[in-house]
């Protein structure tokens, strides 16, 4: 049975599933990366995702437009980000704890709206897979990489884009300097508050899209607490990726691939308890980090509110 794991069907299955499962993580983790690079820890990602997932689904359901759904998710995510930014930047609130508050708020409100506006589980026609001409007909590779839906492609395009913004633009430089040494950045005329507002709102927007990618792209339903801890994994993956978009991509892919591997292990009937299989992605993520000891430091000002010395 174990040898069946190495057949072409299974390998293609694992890779294609892994690519899809990584999608929500990528949006949310890249957003969180921007936040943390500027010195803000947002533990409320899960709440933003849930509200985004609901907004996207509800708007898509009522208007029939998936793109309006995405827009709604972005707006809701950005609003959550805006409030979060106000609380952390202007009120200097403890970031860990306010994040937990935003998580609870999003968890509750999305469910409440779901119950009151929809009442029952419904379905929409989600984003269909787009077969990229020519590429999608390459055996294996085509199915894995070039037959996914638009939000999946978007997530992977986001990675180089985020890398470029963070490392090759003035904005990126400002973000990093605010996260490393806000005092110095401030004295050079960079507005710490404005940068952090920007990154937190961006993070919220991306978390909103992450939610939408679940409810109207990977799936076609909304259900209470449908993220089921995904948002917290997304935060963890930022640490795995050591605050770099490519690292985050690696973490998201590793976690998701192992997750789809464990689904296959069960499907092929390899005799291990299902719980052990389910544990695998969590255990392996830690193990990989243990083996590849990282030398990258966290941004120095992470979680530290900035106060200008008057």
């Amino acid at each position: 049975m174990i040898s069946e794991l190495f057949t072409v069907t299974v390998l293609i299955g694992i890779l294609a599933s892994g690519i899809r499962l990584a999608t929500p993580y990528l949006y949310a983790s890249i957003g969180e990366t921007f936040g943390q690079r500027s010195g803000v820890l947002n533990l409320g990602v899960e709440g933003q995702m849930l509200l985004g997932a609901f907004a996207a689904f509800y708007v898509a359901l009522t208007t029939g437009s998936l793109w309006l759904g995405i827009l709604a998710a972005m707006i809701v995510g950005a609003l959550m980000g805006l409030i979060m930014a106000f609380v952390t930047v202007n009120l200097h609130a403890q970031q860990g704890i306010s994040g937990i508050g935003f998580y609870l708020f999003g968890l509750g409100l999305s469910d409440l709206l779901f119950q009151k506006l929809m009442g029952t589980v419904e379905t929409v026609k989600g984003f269909p897979p787009i077969k990229i001409p020519w590429f999608s007909s390459i055996p294996g590779v085509g199915e894995i990489f070039f037959s996914q839906n638009i939000l999946v492609y978007g997530a992977y395009l986001l990675v180089p884009l985020a890398w470029f913004v963070l490392n090759k633009t003035t904005l990126g430089l400002k973000i990093r300097s605010v996260g490393e040494n806000p005092d110095a950045a401030d004295s050079l005329g960079v507005s710490v508050a404005r940068i952090r507002y920007f990154t937190i709102i961006l993070g919220g927007t991306l978390s909103g899209i992450a939610g939408a990618s679940l409810s109207i792209a990977l799936l076609n339903v909304f259900q209470q607490n449908m993220t089921s801890g995904l948002g917290f994994i997304a935060v963890a993956l930022v640490y795995f990726g050591a605050w770099r978009p490519w690292g985050v991509l690696g973490g998201a892919l590793l976690f998701s691939m192992v997750n789809s591997l464990q689904l296959w292990i069960q499907v092929l009937g390899i005799p291990i308890p299902s719980e052990i299989a389910v544990m695998m992605p969590y255990v392996l993520t830690i193990l990989v980090l243990v083996i590849t000891v990282s030398r990258v430091r966290a941004p120095s000002a992470l979680t530290k509110p900035f106060e200008r010395e008057d």
Binding site: T9, V10, I12, G13, A16, S17, R20, L21, P24, V76, L79, L82, I83, F86, N90, L109, D111, L112, L113, F114, Q115, K116, L117, M118, G119, T120, V121, E122, T123, G126, Y197, L214, L218, L219, N220, V221, Q223, Q224, N225, M226, T227, S228, G229, L230, N259, S260, L263, W264, Q266, V267, L268, G269, S274, E275, V278
Partner: protein
């Protein structure tokens, strides 16, 4: 600048919450299911009430682990109570309140005790994880009747009823159908964790498949969660990639799997609630729990002074379980006949389901 941000944020925050709830309020009246019981209690007309109706309504409180609209376990109870309410003549005769999302056993225990203190006639703890709490609480309220499920265990306490669904029966019927309809001879199952009602259904399903066609391969996937719809959907995709053309699954996260079955045009067999609405083209049949069968008996017993000590089974024979076919799915005459003879066989005992 600072003041501006302040103001802006406050306005946005407020408007967001207000529009959210504002939008919620009118919709709430349109969808009466949720708020009906408490709100319209006083408005219901009394004129047409039959004279036999008791002066005091029968009052029920129910504690459920997930949401009342989960299209699964909790909803099956909520729907049953709604049906009982209709049967008995509305809120004047039958009133019920609920606590949903009581996944935490402690919180549920507090709720059970509180409802008992409030003098409800019957307190239903709808989840097998609540039994232990009930065993503690029931003896303190000898005048109140309690019921819990799914189980047969009443702990020998005189005011505890128990109810359980023979979910293997509907599972068996679904399994027989799936084995017949599958052309690839591979069937996939998506489950939460390997216990209780879910395991019972899965075992019954497997037994049904095995008796119909031992050559059919059944792949099972427990995803370790009741809420991870994304993983449930990937589990379905995995089954399909492994060749399955018929799928089933149990618990509330399977709504994620049904969509994948639809995309791949694989068949779906539902359980707990009727899942046809989620994918009208591919859902063949759903096993639906009709807890009202047990509830009716419980209520009759309570009214005659028996507060517990008995256990009830919802099964195909007593109508507590019904296999509801999707009218939009063109099931062949042969398959329909097979399903019906299987149901009949289970009812009259000619088919016995052997569980592992």
């Amino acid at each position: 600048m600072k003041k501006f941000i302040w103001l802006l944020t406050l306005i946005v925050a407020l408007s967001m919450i207000l529009t959210a709830c504002g939008a919620a309020a009118p919709a709430a009246t349109e969808a009466p299911v949720v708020t009906e019981a408490p709100v319209s209690a006083t408005e219901a007309p009394v004129a047409t009430e039959p004279p036999a109706a008791p002066a005091e309504p029968f009052r029920v409180a129910v504690i459920m682990p997930s949401a009342i609209n989960d299209l699964a376990f909790s909803q099956s109870m909520f729907d049953a109570l709604t049906r009982i309410q209709e049967e008995m003549g509305g809120t004047d005769a039958f009133e019920f309140v609920y606590s949903d999302g009581m996944f935490n056993v402690d919180d549920a225990a507090a709720a059970i005790r509180d409802y008992a203190t409030e003098g409800y006639d019957l307190v239903i703890a709808h989840g097998s994880q609540y039994g232990s709490s009930l065993q503690e609480i029931a003896p303190d309220f000898p005048e109140t009747s309690f019921a819990w499920g799914t189980t047969a265990e009443t702990f020998g306490v005189p005011n505890i009823f128990a109810y359980e669904a023979a979910s293997q029966e509907g599972g068996y019927v679904n399994g027989v159908l799936a084995a017949t309809l599958s052309t690839s001879k591979v069937i996939g199952i998506v489950g939460p964790i390997e216990v209780g009602d879910a395991k019972l259904y899965v075992d019954g399903f497997k037994a049904g498949v095995a008796t119909t066609d031992p050559a059919v391969k059944v792949n099972v996937n427990y995803i370790g969660s009741f809420s991870d719809v994304a993983l449930a959907s990937e589990a379905a995709t995995t089954h399909i990639a492994a060749g399955a053309d018929a799928l089933t699954g149990t618990a509330q996260m399977v709504v994620g799997a049904i969509g994948k079955a639809e995309e791949a045009n694989a068949l779906w067999f539902g359980t707990q609630s009727n899942q046809t609405s989620l994918a009208p083209t591919i859902v063949v049949a759903s096993q639906v729990y009709h807890w009202e069968v047990a509830l009716r008996e419980i209520i009759t017993l309570i009214n005659s002074g028996t507060l517990g000590g008995q256990s009830f089974k919802a099964n195909l024979a007593n109508g507590g379980e019904v296999v509801e076919f999707n009218p939009d799915y063109a099931l062949s005459a042969d398959a329909t006949a097979l399903a019906e003879s299987t149901i009949q066989g289970i009812i009259d005992g000619t088919i016995t389901i052997t569980l592992p």
